[in-house]
């Protein structure tokens, strides 16, 4: 680990300009001192919360997902997109002002059932437009891109691991590599649908011995990989993998992740991501590319609801993205990198049925830098109550360790059912 101090530019959210990486390295020692309000996870009837964060990589066009149909400027600026949507189906009304893209049927149903909250004009504190840096800020939990080496979910997991109380296989990263959000001191599992036959236990043992003597990093990874095999969902046949591309694969991902989250000895904090949201050209939210992505996302949510049924009342699925997109349609029938966007909180633990949006308007003077939806809610304000009220972390821990330098960001109220 290096200790290069990062630099970042002072922005309009009034953050500490001396904030740098050295500060973060010192934090690690304090983790064990904080932690959750003690709870006996094994006691019957005690809450056993699950959190799954779905990261939509590329920058989801929030205004196409949750259309501000009540805003006359929306109709003016996005008429081509709106026509495209209408040609395929009717927008799904939320509260008279906002309506969902018709592909997001499950999300709409859950909203009606008061199990989904939709946030609009929300963003992380990041204000530039680089995917790389925006994703870092989204995942690291720090207010700026400083080449962090840990993510906020990993630090949250560390907070949940008090002495001997919780199994150490708490964190789960779905996918072939562990993204920043799940990197850090806490060890997490990684899992992805497999179709190779299993390797023998004896070879693993011998390899484990070798790694323990020569390569601790590989040893840790192998240990978790082997444990995972013991718990893992059944082998997925080659045939089902060939399915309709994204849709089928996502279904398998949802099923697999859900299985691991439902188990009493399984994971509790998980993350998965869906790529492809960077719609610079031919966005077509009604009949084309974005519509297909919405369909896949909705299928993922539906499958999760179904597979997590035994623990749905204890579950929060958070859907986030690194930034929204330009309000105007660009010259290639798409949108470019923007700022304010949407986020969803879904699950039986959510006090849902409303749209959280301090709507800034879409007139040019109301836009951020004349081009993007101005963010009026910090994403962390939405996540904080999930960490405290749903997972049981102390507010102090969240403020000091999970989202450092966020004391000015007040947690939203009425997010989690008590």
């Amino acid at each position: 680990m290096s200790s290069k101090a990062g630099t970042w530019k002072f922005n309009d959210m009034n953050l500490n300009p001396e904030f740098d990486r050295r500060h973060i390295l010192h934090m690690g020692t304090g983790l064990a001192a904080f932690g959750l309000i003690p709870r006996l996870a094994s006691a019957a009837g005690a809450p056993d919360p699950r959190l799954l964060l779905v990261n939509l990589r590329g920058g989801l066009d929030g205004i196409s997902a949750v259309m501000p149909v009540g805003d006359p400027d929306y109709m003016r600026l996005r008429s081509s997109f709106f026509s495209d949507v209408k040609s395929k189906g009717m927008p799904l009304d939320l509260d008279g002002f906002f309506a969902l893209n018709p592909e997001l049927k499950t999300l709409h149903r859950l909203f009606r059932k008061r199990q989904a909250i939709i946030a609009h004009a929300t963003a992380t504190p990041y204000r530039k437009r680089s995917h790389f840096d925006a994703q870092e800020v989204l995942e690291s939990g720090f207010p700026a891109a400083i080449k962090a080496d840990s993510g906020w979910m990993n630090r949250a997991i560390s907070g949940l691991q008090t002495e001997g109380q919780i199994s150490h296989n708490l964190g789960l990263s779905v996918g072939h590599a562990i993204p920043l959000i799940m990197r850090g001191p806490a060890k997490v599992l990684s899992w992805a649908p497999q179709i190779l036959p299993q390797s023998s236990g004896d070879t693993i043992d011998r390899l484990m011995q070798l790694y323990q003597a020569r390569d601790p990093e590989l040893a840790t990874a192998l240990k978790m990989g082997a444990q995972l095999d013991a718990m893992a969902p059944e082998r997925i046949s080659r045939k089902s993998m060939r399915g309709r591309g994204n849709l089928k694969a996502l279904e398998q991902v949802a099923k697999g992740a859900a299985k691991l989250l439902v188990r009493s000895d399984g994971a509790r904090i998980a993350t998965a991501s869906i790529d492809g949201w960077d719609t610079h050209a031919n966005e077509k939210p009604g009949t084309g590319r974005l519509a297909r992505l919405f369909r896949a996302l909705d299928k993922l949510v539906a499958t999760l609801e179904q597979e997590l049924e035994p623990v749905w009342n204890d579950t929060v699925v958070a859907v986030v993205t690194e930034f929204g997109r330009t309000v105007n349609v660009n010259g290639t029938a798409g949108t470019d990198h923007g700022t304010g966007g949407v986020a969803f909180l879904i699950g039986g633990s959510i006090k849902g049925g409303r749209v959280i949006a301090d709507w800034p308007g879409l007139r040019e003077r109301e836009l951020f830098e004349g081009r993007d939806l101005r963010p009026t809610t910090d994403l962390r304000a939405l996540i904080k109550p999930v960490l405290t009220d749903h997972l049981g972390l102390s507010a102090r821990f969240v403020e000091n360790d999970v989202f450092p330098e966020s004391s000015s960001i007040k947690a939203l109220q009425n997010i989690i059912l008590s």
């Binding site: 680990m1 290096s2 630099t7 990589r57 590329g58 437009r129 680089s130 995917h131 790389f132 840096d133 891109a145 990263s173 996918g175 072939h176 590599a177 562990i178 990197r183 599992l189 990684s190 899992w191 992805a192 497999q194 179709i195 190779l196 036959p197 299993q198 390797s199 023998s200 004896d202 070879t203 693993i204 011998r206 390899l207 011995q209 070798l210 790694y211 003597a213 020569r214 390569d215 590989l218 990874a221 192998l222 240990k223 990989g225 082997a226 995972l228 095999d229 790529d275 492809g276 610079h280 050209a281 105007n328 349609v329 660009n330 010259g331 290639t332 798409g334 470019d336 990198h337 830098e369």
Partner: protein, 454 residues
């Protein structure tokens, strides 16, 4: 003295190449300086390697357009039932490219040049995100990247930016200036994607000191950089073309410099300036050292390579020379993790196995590195923590056991000594010796830290 050169030879193969082949012994080099010369020659040879039996991107694109036209025609005639639909050419082209590339890699002498083609193709990444990209992602490496790996960075940058694969991947072929002839007929036309990624990922880097306005202005400069489509307007189908009627007229200011050239020259001038910018020297040198030496590259080595870049005007061979001459590059600790493709090539060389392209494709996909399909314009990540994950490692082990099952080696212990030489640890040697079967011994060797790292 002999021990030192043995170690250097092992590292030459292992760190700067694809790993020793089962039939390779000592390189004709008695000193480190001679090794460096061999490696630099290797790079030059790779840059002139041609693949005569593979189709050019203009041909694959034409085939793709023809296929699309046929499909549309069949649909239009509503003749879907009973008519034999033509097969999409994408997968066949992809597998052909993979096969050629894999063979070049596994049969290369050391592989330094091929590693460089891989490195630069990843730095200037394009991705087979759809069937059209799939037919040109492979030719792109051969046509745009390979010929320039031993030349100047400027030429490499100009080459990749003008290749249809890059133009198409980053949506530039229809980007038009608002005040251009075409743009004035519509209200907007600009697409920022290519301009942003050139600045952020290819040249000066995200901290290079550019602003949003610079991105927009650069996007204007790049309007008109396009591809000849299926109607063959203005040139050969599937080739680069500059379309003046889409180009935003007028001077543009980018990173403090005003560019008042006209048409194509304007963009070329910007690219030339970026190619020699100090931030580019730093960013590119950092990536190069990080790729070969360590996830956390030694600052002093990066600084030296950066200095060579600046002094030589971006002469890549000179940069490689600086990298190779530095003692930091020859430390015996193997710190970098082999990415899935590197692992598979190294296995192929060590055990003389040649997976079929279709199986190769599937295995790499499972290991998280689907050929020609990096997840974003950033390319495949180059740090261990992105690849060392429980699931990924388990997959590598499962694959190793599959390979071992099909082609068990006879004397794995001797093979390990030949392939790894002084890099072989006592612990791995012992583990191999104590294995209960040749199959298990092979799997253990393949998954050993020395084989997983370089």
């Amino acid at each position: 003295m002999k021990q030192e050169i043995e170690l250097s030879q092992a590292l030459a193969f292992h760190r700067f190449g694809w790993g020793r082949r089962y039939d390779q012994r000592a390189l004709p080099a008695g000193s480190r300086a001679q090794l460096v010369a061999l490696l630099l020659d290797d790079a030059e040879n790779s840059s002139s390697l041609s693949f005569d039996d593979l189709p050019a991107s203009r041909d694959t694109l034409k085939t793709w357009f023809d296929y699309r036209r046929e499909i549309k025609a069949i649909r239009a005639r509503k003749q879907e039932a009973g008519v034999e639909k033509p097969k999409s050419p994408s997968r066949q082209f992809l597998l052909g490219e993979l096969e050629a590339r894999f063979d070049a890699d596994r049969m290369s002498e050391i592989g330094f040049g091929e590693r460089l083609v891989d490195f630069w193709s990843n730095h200037f990444a394009v991705s087979a995100i759809n069937p059209r990209m799939a037919v040109i992602a492979g030719p792109y490496r051969r046509e745009a990247v390979r010929p320039h790996i031993s030349g100047r960075f400027e030429d490499l940058l100009l080459s990749v930016t003008r290749h249809p694969a890059m133009i198409h991947y980053l949506d530039n072929q229809v980007s038009m200036g608002p005040n251009s002839k075409a743009g004035r007929r519509r209200s907007k036309g600009l697409n920022e994607n290519l301009a942003r990624e050139i600045l952020e990922l290819h040249t000066v880097g995200v901290n290079g000191g550019y602003t949003q306005q610079d991105v927009t202005n650069f996007a204007k400069v790049l309007t008109g950089w396009s591809i000849v489509g299926p109607k063959a307007r203005g040139g050969t189908i599937g080739t680069f073309i500059f379309r003046r009627f889409m180009h935003e007229p007028g001077a543009q200011k980018i990173m403090g410099k005003v560019y008042d050239q006209r048409d194509l020259e304007q963009g070329i001038s910007v690219l030339r300036t970026l190619a020699h910018h100090p931030a580019t020297a730093r960013f590119v040198s950092q990536k190069l050292v990080q790729h070969f030496v360590s996830d956390d590259p030694p600052k002093i080595l990066v600084a030296r390579v950066e200095q060579t870049f600046l002094n030589s005007g971006g002469d890549l061979q000179r940069m490689y020379e600086t990298l190779l001459q530095d003692t930091n590059s020859w430390q015996p600790e193997l710190r970098k993790i082999r990415r899935p493709y590197e692992y598979v090539v190294a296995t192929s060389r060590a055990f003389n196995v040649r997976p079929k392209p279709k199986n190769l494709f599937g295995s790499l996909k499972l290991m998280g590195q689907q050929p020609f399909r990096p997840p974003s314009p950033q390319g495949w990540p180059d740090v261990g923590e992105s690849w060392i994950a429980p699931d990924a490692l388990k997959t590598r082990l499962d694959w190793a056991e599959q390979v071992a099952r099909r082609r068990p080696s006879r004397d794995v212990r001797a093979l390990a000594r030949d392939i790894l030489g002084p890099l072989l640890s006592d612990e791995t040697d012992l583990a191999i010796a104590r294995a209960e079967s040749a199959k298990q011994a092979m799997a253990l060797m393949m998954l050993s830290p020395e084989f997983q790292r370089r």
